[in-house]
């Protein structure tokens, strides 16, 4: 993208990119002649679209590490999941869940998480799992 200063009829230069998180990026431009400034703000869809092709507006100073985008999306997914239900799983609880047959595991997980949310628990432990099982 390029921006034109209408007053001076010359191209504006990039003045910085402010990362507003997953839903917004501000791309700032300045006119080298008259110092007029604008900021282009991307909407969530535009922000995600740029992110999904693995590029950064304005370029990168550092080189992307191998599989970086994949790893970032895995971490984001984990964070979103925690945020959505507000519950975390203890490692021992995760391990016990593996005893549930694979096909039934997602349903079991959801039932336990719903129980934890209903009871106001922030973390799913073995005791929470027992409690959920007794209540089903």
């Amino acid at each position: 993208m390029k921006f034109l200063c209408e007053r001076c009829d010359i191209q504006m230069t990039l003045n910085g990119v402010d990362d507003g998180g997953p839903e917004s990026v501000a791309v700032r431009f300045v006119c080298p002649e008259c110092d007029s400034r604008i900021a282009m703000i991307t909407n969530p869809m535009e922000t995600q679209m740029v992110k999904s092709i693995g590029v950064k507006i304005g370029g990168r100073d550092d080189k992307l590490a191998p599989m970086e985008m994949i790893k970032e999306s895995i971490q984001e997914n984990a964070r979103a999941k925690d945020t959505l239900l507000g519950v975390k799983w203890e490692e021992s609880a995760e391990k016990r869940l593996l005893n549930v047959p694979e096909m039934a595991r997602p349903m079991a997980r959801k039932a336990i998480e719903n129980h934890a949310k209903k009871m106001g628990y922030e973390t799913i432990t073995l005791e929470v799992m027992d409690e959920a099982k007794n209540n089903l």
């Binding site: 191209q11 999904s52 693995g54 507006i57 970086e68 994949i70 593996l98 997602p106």
Partner: protein
């Protein structure tokens, strides 16, 4: 008012540059791979991943160096099918070294990055749209494949994704289409062949999977789908490479018995 082309300064976003850089990195990585073949089906459940695994086993039995990319990232299964679950991928200065199964097939799958073989919790991302394509691009470009005779790409059972892979790999050597002899599968297979022709993908042929099941006690073979002839349906659209039986256990399969089907695919590629 000036137009974009009138502004002589660089594109401030540098998006085009970054996209070109990524394409160049991918092309570099693919340079030492002699043949890249996509295994395709227009619908799920035809055993495309099993056929990919069998094809890889056949190729390695001929002495070829073989890599398999599981590009079906939202339904990955190749690492399990090839029994390469105990191994991990290793990060090096040159990218990630793929895992290797006991036959020496090099495997790359998101499963290794999700670590699902150790602890599958179901809490894995679903990648869609441009993100899905970019994940496949990263898996291709950031894996240190080394020199390979063949790279097989197990594609998702969505035809549009094959187009995306063809856009990524401008030198895709061909595609093998997998179907079963069910009416629905044949119908979708024909649609797939026409679409691949529009995309100008070189179709090496059609493999009919799960044609029959052999009784392990008496050896009698029963057709799994009655009444449909895949070879006849394919007609002039593509070479019919042959049929594979239902394979309940990849570990016990006698790959020599299946060689005729895969020899045809390789010959077409030559």
């Amino acid at each position: 008012m000036k137009k974009y082309s009138d502004l002589q300064g660089n594109d401030a976003s540098k998006i085009s540059e970054q996209v070109a850089e990524k394409a160049s990195a991918l092309a570099c990585r693919m340079e030492n791979i002699s043949r890249k073949i996509a295994i395709v089906s227009g619908k799920g459940g035809v055993g495309k991943s099993v056929v990919t695994a069998l094809f890889a086993k056949y190729l390695v039995s001929t002495g070829a160096t073989v890599g398999v990319l599981d590009a079906d990232i939202n339904g990955s299964s190749i690492s399990n099918l090839l029994g390469a679950t105990q191994n991990a991928v290793q990060k090096t200065d040159n990218g990630y070294k793929p895992a290797a199964d006991k036959n020496g097939i090099f495997v790359m799958s998101v499963d290794y990055l999700l670590d699902v073989h150790k602890s599958f919790t179901g809490n894995t991302p679903t990648w869609l749209g441009a993100m899905e394509t970019n994940v496949v691009r990263e898996l291709l470009a950031d894996t240190d494949w080394g020199s390979l005779d063949y790279l097989l790409i197990d594609t998702p059972p969505i035809l549009s994704r094959v187009g995306d892979i063809k856009d990524l790999l401008t030198e895709l050597d061909g595609a093998v289409v997998v179907t079963t002899a069910s009416k629905v599968s044949i119908k979708i297979m024909l649609k797939t062949l026409r679409k691949l022709a529009e995309m100008k993908v070189n179709v090496l042929g059609v493999i009919e999977n799960m044609k029959e099941l052999k009784c392990e006690h008496c050896g009698h073979k029963n057709d799994l789908f009655i009444g449909e002839n895949v070879g006849k349906a394919v007609g002039y659209l593509a070479p019919y490479l042959g049929a594979l039986p239902f394979v309940p256990n990849l570990e016990k399969v006698a790959i020599d018995e299946l060689r005729d089907v895969f020899i045809s695919a390789v010959d077409k590629n030559n």
